[in-house]
Symmetry: C2
DNA sequence: ATGAAAGCGCTAACAC
DNA sequence: GTGTTAGCGCTTTCAT
């Protein structure tokens, strides 16, 4: 593979000039430009990003840290991240932790080691101490989940209010026995959504029952199936369920159908996220719609701004309750 | 950020020695090792991948080219790629073309420019000429789709046989009016699956009817909805549908339900891929299961072998027909 | 076991 | 408008 020196020699100019035509930095006479372009063509030269990156001490790579992308919620966000990044000359390094601590350490080190210029974390279980340490020296943005105790900029929605709205919707429909499938409450958004759930019940003087609250270890379909299975074994069964993720809600819906119960008559179901599949279930799923694409897009914008040294501020985005067949006939 | 020289100075050794302790290449006396480690600790030194990459002329990055990851089929494959890559010291650069030619060019150039050491392409619409050119100089593996005319190693399944098996399953159930939702037939696997569809029909002397073949421009849910809508407008409606992607099949299933038809009694549906959703639909979807994770894993293994200069051979993987409620009561 | 020094490929400051 | 040169941070001969 030819390098810039060989191109320079072939074109009868210096490597600096070749660099200049490559990057359009300062003016180059059209005659030399043509000579250089011809040499590039003949040698099939392609500039090495390795040399350029070292010289510029940047990688133009953005690390995206996620727990898993088996959840379409994240892939939608990534779409937004990718679009903004590509349009601004960055590429994304996709890093899936799978809740594996050593993998996570590897990934965080990649930004320490300059392999990435910054990071967007969407990994709610990330090691907070390490993250804080990293954030002192490197641009980091949190997307979709964040931490009250930290100053790392984030983009998120008002989880408490969104959950409140979802549960209130069920109450307005006449439900009083409303179960809640939550995620691990070590995670902030799980605590926030629980608060919203409780606030709605309290407001209408509906007692909160522990037996109707399920804390799931994961967000897969089968976790939702399991949760619903447990609710349906109860002496006093709920008539509605609110799940903090569409994947959980879809699992719960599936299990409800499986048991021959009618949704929404016997059991109303509300999800969270509005993944595209939520509109393909039978019945279709009522859910809190998050602006995933825009969240990703904005997070990328914030990160790149931050890399460029500009100050960035956290953003709270809008959500929307999308009412479909799983709650309304 | 400290560099290797500063560490060397602080430890009272040369940078070569620091490099040695960093990489465990040649023996270093335990006393100097300790001195160096102490210096690293004190300076909070993290070696720059930028310098290392240039020196080693490798990036340890694998480019993964896909059309879109809104299809869970691809995310499953990526899981496999990622697991093998990480375990072998590589990371993946996720590149989504969105059928955008200029984006695709950008991505292909990234491997030309050494930003990635190799590439796994899962983009069936890739520019073949450019791809061939690139493959002459750089390690490339095709995953899930490939091109008969090329020598680029691939991992795939026997699409023709798989489609044949799916359609035969419908015929055995007594169906004779079997519609086919295919993808764009410029893509090899679409042509192969069509062959399988036709072979099954021919074998049972069932005439092939153009009105029952739909060539979709995309693989999204709504494309499947649209296809089914068209079939249901026909004078002579099919009683079964085979779609080349679960996403299409799920859309078709949705539309069938929507019209009040019973699946599988009025309309049997078979998909392709076995994405996790396919087991969450109502009714659950009969589908051709591809070993997505293993395909990705194998493709990564082949690519890394290829990067290391080892010869690699194409692999044909097993598939399986998973029978569920959308064809059998 | 350790150090000196070259060099991976590029860009930018400086000189002309 | 163009060339010279230094240097980004690292690894690896080659000496010793």
């Amino acid at each position: 593979m030819a390098n810039i020196q060989e191109v320079a020699r072939k074109a009868g100019v210096s490597s600096a000039t070749v660099s200049r035509v490559l990057n359009n930095t300062t003016a180059v006479s059209s005659t030399t430009r043509i000579k250089v372009e011809k040499a590039i063509e003949e040698l099939k030269y392609a500039p090495s990003m390795l040399g350029r990156n070292l010289r510029n001490s940047e990688s133009r790579l953005l690390l995206v840290l996620i727990h898993t992308f088996s959840n379409p919620y994240y892939t939608e966000i990534i779409n937004g991240i990718e679009d903004y990044s590509i349009a601004n000359g960055y590429n994304i390094l996709l890093c899936e932790t799978d809740s594996n601590a050593s993998r996570e350490t590897t990934f965080l080190n990649m930004v320490k080691n300059k392999l990435a210029d910054g990071m967007i974390s969407m990994n709610p279980t990330v090691d907070l101490e390490k993250l804080t340490g990293l954030a002192e020296k490197h641009p980091i943005i949190l997307c979709s989940d964040y931490y009250e105790t930290m100053e790392i900029p984030y983009v998120a929605i008002d989880n408490e209010a969104a959950a409140y709205k979802a549960v209130k919707h069920l109450i307005k429909l006449g439900h009083e026995k409303i179960a809640f499938i939550n995620f691990d409450e070590r995670i902030l958004y799980a605590r926030q959504r629980r608060k919203g759930y409780e606030r709605a019940l309290n407001e209408f003087n509906i007692p909160i029952q522990d037996q109707w609250i399920y804390n799931s270890q994961g967000l897969e379909f089968h976790n939702g199936v399991q949760a619903m299975r447990k609710f349906l074994q109860l002496e006093e069964k709920p008539t509605a369920v609110f799940a903090v993720s569409d994947t959980l809600a879809i699992g719960a819906l599936k299990e409800t159908n499986e048991r021959g119960l009618n949704v929404p008559d016997d059991m109303a179901v509300v999800g969270f996220d509005n993944i595209s599949f939520s509109n393909m279930t039978n019945p279709t799923l009522t859910t809190v719609s998050q602006p995933m694409y825009n969240m990703g897009y904005k997070a990328a914008e914030m990160l790149i701004d931050s890399i460029k040294g500009q100050p960035v501020e956290s953003v709270i985005m809008d959500y929307e309750l999308v009412m479909r067949e799983s709650t309304i006939n």
